[in-house]
Structures are given as structure tokens and as C-alpha cells.
Amino acid sequence: MHRCAICQTNRAQVIRPKNGQKICKSCFLEVFELEVHTTIVENNIFPRRGERVAIGASGGKDSTVLAATLKALNERYDYGVEFVLLSIDEGIHGYRDDSLETVKRNAVQYGMELCIVGYDTLYGWTMDKVVEKIGKKGNCTYCGVFRRQALDRGAKRLDISHILTGHNADDIAETVLMNFLRGDLPRLGRCAEIMTASATSPMRRSKPLKYAYEKEIVLYAHYRELDYFSTECVYSPEAFRGNARSLLKELEKIRPSSVLDIVRSGEQLVHDVKSPSKPGCGERNGCRGQDKGSVSGSQVMSTEPATLKLLQGAAQTNDGAGIQTIGVCGKCGYMSSQPICKACVLVDSLNKTEPPVEVSLTGNMISIEVSGGILI
């Protein structure tokens, strides 16, 4: 029998993938929560007391663990924020109905308000109807575009400007690998960021589980006996991500820290690629000089960490210059960098009898993280 490396008393039940440490169940739960807390504090995820923050809740393991940990940490460390569960009903029969029941139970269990936003009310189309119309191929694109806006719209309806999602370290590592394999430089530069703000959205999005292994999330849910729902989206083919995922699993086998190490590498790429407000710029060489985000970045870089005021001054001017492009969609009035927002373009194509439009994957709106029912 192995003894716990932390308390030296109990039987070890878990091997930590980050460093191979063998620890007991209660020490594991404690370290797991402490790491999420550290992530929150170090990244200043909750800068304002009294803020209402939405948790994108799918009823799956990641968002359930996120909600459970945040409830515990908010009570323990007094972040002073109020959490609201925000769920999207894509209208996928046999997938979403059941998971929404889970979310409803979670809302009661964690004492959090729940808001469900449906694709049918937002777009007039459920995913079942979309698939009926266009087939299974490419439907994830629709789902992803719709969902991203749905979360924003849902949050806006609740007068909330900060959404937390359950992305874990494995998701991010996979995305880093995938963006390399796809040659998607702009996304590569921001996929490992813990918090993102987009030009087309006033929302902040944060990933407090960014450093948590999928395996540890499942263990946490198991040991805490959390009530979560697990099934694959019936329409998700897992194609490209599956490739990166199996590669990641193989790497994890020989060096379990690989997942975290890839996240770390991804973070290092963040400041080399353009700011999120100017997508596509990074795809061309030689435009670096004109990019304000980059200029500000090098100022930050050359400044001593201690001179915080100066840093903020630099960032402020940058932000002021970067946000100017937000307009509104001529159709729905929702924020958009284009005359008509992507969601409306897609809805239009669905409403016509023509074949579906090709959606550019390099645009700003579509999230890459569209697989497996993960809320973005």
C-alpha cells in the first residue's frame, strides 16, 4: 500500500498526472480545489466583488465540476461574486433534454439561478431541424456559431458580462495541437489564454479549469459524487479533434505532464500572435509593426514586472484603440463586425431552399471548441 505523499497518513488513491505524486482522496480534493483557487487569484478572474457571473452549464462533467468547485471556493475564500447557471438548449432530442434535467438538479443542489436559452427561440431553428435540413455533415459549425451567440445573448439577458466555461487542460492542449495541424495561427495565439475578450462581443470569457486534467475532473466528480450527465452529442463526429485527441492520449501515456506542458507552450505563443481584436492579421507576415496589440505587448515585455501602473497605462491605450470595430448586425441588432452577423447569415441560408453556405473557419466568431457538447 502506498501512503499519501501529502498527509503521510492515508492510503494513496490517486496519482497526479502533473508530477506523479501519489496522494489520498481527501488531499486530492483539497489540492484540486486549491489549484482552481490559485488559478482564479493569479489571473484575477473575479476583479469586482458583487459581480454576477454566468457559468456555461451543459450538465456534463466539466461544467458540473466547475459549478461545484466555484460554489465551494466562493464560500471558502469569499470572492463575493454571485453565480448563475446559463444553459443552452440546442434542441437535440435525446441529448439535451436529459442533460438539461441534470442542470436543473444542479441549480437546486448548488443554490444557483438557472437560465436556459433555446436555439428555437433565438434562431427559429433547433439543431434537430438544422440536421433534418442540411444533414449531419457540417452541422457542428451551425451549432458552434449559434451557441457562442446564445451564451452571449443569454448572459446579456441576465445583465451579465462575464461567462465561465468548463474547458480543461486536455481541451486546451488538444486545441493547441489542432491549431498547429490546421495551420490556424490567429487561433493558436489565443486558444491558451485563460480569459478572452473579443471585438465582436463585450463578454469576458474565462476558463478556471484551464490547468485541471480531464482525468482529475472525472476523479473529482466521482469522489464528490457529483450529479453529471454523460453522453456524446449524437451529431458530433469527433473527426479532427479525435485525431489530436488520440495523439494527446498517446503522449500522456509516456509523459503524463505532456498535457500541461502543451498548455504551457500554448501560453508562450500568446504574446507572439496578434491581439484577438484583429483576427487574420497574424496570417500575413510583415503586418506585425502596424498591430497595436503587438506594440503594446512589447512594451509590456520590456517593463519590469513590478511597475504595474505603467503596464496598465500601456494596455489602456491599446484597448481604447482596439475596440473601435464593433458594429451591430443589420438584421438582429446584435453586435457584429460584419453588416450581418454570422448567425443571421446561417439562419438566412437555412430559411432559403438553397444549399448551405460554406462558413469560413478563419473568421472571428466561430469557436473551434465545438465538439463533445462542451459549452464555449
Partner: protein
Amino acid sequence: MTTDTIPITVELAGGLELLFDNEKKLRINIPAKTEDGDATNINYLVNYLCVHHMKDTRREMFEVDGTVRAGILVLINDADWELEGEGEYELQPKDTILFVSTLHGG
């Protein structure tokens, strides 16, 4: 030739139960020895479950290369199987073996 069996509990979670006709808990008696006379281990159990209990035809969702598919977490009496010798762990009477998928949507 021995017909001894070991009583164990097998639990399925994280979506794996769908492969087993939505059974989350199986109480089974597994042969104490393999056909070759070796003690029954987890890898043997994985195959045994595929043959005797899996209702789904997609065996590869559970078993790959003689052991559980990567991405399925195995807990032996609530402890990570990596602490117990993984697939080589020899089953003991009244063991509880939990298979939980980490692969399904969250």
C-alpha cells in the same frame, strides 16, 4: 480443472453504461483462473465483460489492444489502477472495479 469463481462488483460510468444496456452496476462471478491457469487480472476482466456483458457491438469503445481504451479511467476499490499495477492487477474477492469514461462531452 477448477471452476472457482471470484465475486466482484463492476461499475460503469461516464457514458460507458450505455455500452452495457444502461447497467451502472454489475455483480458478477468471474473465473478465478484463466484458461491458461493464470490468476484473473483486469485485462482478463475487460475481455470478459466484452464477451459476456457488453450489449453494444462497438467493442473498440471499451477495449483496445487487450486492455481498456485510453481515456477510460479505472478505479480498483476507489483507487487509481496505476497504483495497483494497471491491467496486471489480480482480482480479489469482493473487489469493486469502476470503469469511467473521460471522453464524453462535458
